[in-house]
Symmetry: C2
Subunit: 236 residues, 2 copies
DNA sequence: CCATCTTTGTGCACGCGTTCACAAAGACAT
DNA sequence: ATGTCTTTGTGAACGCGTGCACAAAGATGG
């Protein structure tokens, strides 16, 4: 995992653990819901329950970003929303491009969670010329050849890959060459990128396989092991 | 290893670390690609590179499932494919239901990675009656009211939730009540389930927010810190 | 049969993340 | 002001995951 290390071991602000960063969006979502209900303050216990985590963990997470609650009362909801948004960089506008407008790409383009949090879909790209011009989520699909100009013109630094596996690496290379430095990859492939480029992977089938493992283990506790070791196929 | 017919669920095999389980599908994918190219054996170094992990980690992972390579040679590809498939429970058939056939649900239904690995889409369900009967990925969409009978008739133990956030908990409750014990949740909500039910969450916007954080940090190394601590808004 | 070479399997140490448990801080009532 | 009560912030212990480094195992060639 190429997560740049902090040059400074500083206790404050700079050194937020990766695990904490991954939970901040979770807290933010819960806090936003509270904010919409005009709840002024919330205790670590309540918020932790809403986010589905341990309350001690939540308090420690907040302590990393120097966010202060009030003892005996809790946290100010609006204040926390602002702090977390700023820490995550959501107070600024992030133009993103989505490459590969198949079923998944269209789903992503329509996904409300993007636009609502500082992300703006700058363009939808696809290699299929016959898709060009078609409207998806109100935006026209454009041809992949426009990738470089779009990335440059819109200062796009985040790309989303929803292409078939075979095209993912080439698209990645072009995105990186054009200036993209963060990639969210939905294609079932290992992408290689130069240092300084972040890749996060979302793999639908892997999640299902992990579930299957646990499901099998649960079933195995009740019923007999379905014959353990020797497979039908042996190595030569 | 030939433990023949083991009556005892030996210490080995039972205690596979969660982190290892999460990587097994990754290895399996790389191995399948090798198998299709008729590569007979592979070293830990090569396979690790293909899967994007450290080779020592890979060897340790394999050691947990008792899978034996041959020193000086490497691992037998076919043998490993079988072993990992069996360990993950992919040698059996897993019927799944997908609930919520919007953009995302349709994308999931069409996703090839499911069918190819022991997963079979038993039904597509949606609350919108006007969708009923419409074909998606060759399967007719059925009304959510059929959930209970479908789950029971097909012995479905895995459910995929692709509904809006507001409907996710109710759908979860019905799935669990009908007998589902593993849930893959794409809705941006924290689901509460009874003990014994596994939930895995895939949250598209969270991944993007994590990317934004790193992106902001990268930008912050070059340019000036946009003023650190004191926000414009202070708590009451 | 012996020597050499390759690659596995793993003991060990280290660092990160989680959780407990509690002192400190502040609100609030009297 | 003082005492009580609630809730935060964190020190410390623990457990898990990772990666190094190396001995053991086996293949291969002479």
């Amino acid at each position: 995992m190429a997560t740049g290390r902090s040059h400074r071991p500083a206790t404050r602000g700079r050194g937020i653990p990766e695990a904490t960063v991954a939970r901040l969006p979770l807290y933010l979502r819960a806090l936003t819901a509270l904010s919409e209900r005009s709840v002024p303050t919330v205790s670590s216990e309540e918020l932790a329950a809403a986010a589905g985590v341990n309350s001690a963990k939540l308090r420690k997470d907040f302590s990393y970003l120097g966010s202060y609650g009030t003892r005996g009362v809790g946290y100010d909801v609006e204040y926390l929303v602002y702090q977390i948004s700023r820490e995550l960089g959501l107070t600024q506008d992030w133009p993103v491009v989505i490459v590969g407008i198949g079923n998944l790409g269209a789903a992503l383009a329509n996904y409300g969670g993007f636009a609502s949090r500082g992300f703006r879909v700058a363009a939808l790209l696809d290699a299929d010329a016959s898709l060009a011009g078609r409207l998806v989520a109100g935006l026209p699909v454009r041809h992949i050849d426009e990738l470089e100009s779009i990335v440059e013109d819109n200062q796009v630094s985040i790309g989303v890959i929803a292409t078939p596996a075979g095209a993912a690496q080439e698209v990645t290379d072009r995105l990186v060459a054009a200036g993209v430095t963060s990639i969210l990859n939905f294609a079932p492939t290992v992408l290689s990128v130069p240092d300084g480029v972040d890749v996060r992977k979302v793999d639908l089938s892997i999640e299902l396989q992990i579930l299957a493992f646990h499901e099998q283990r649960k079933a195995g506790e009740d019923r007999q092991e379905p014959d353990g070791d020797v497979p039908a196929v042996m190595p030569a």
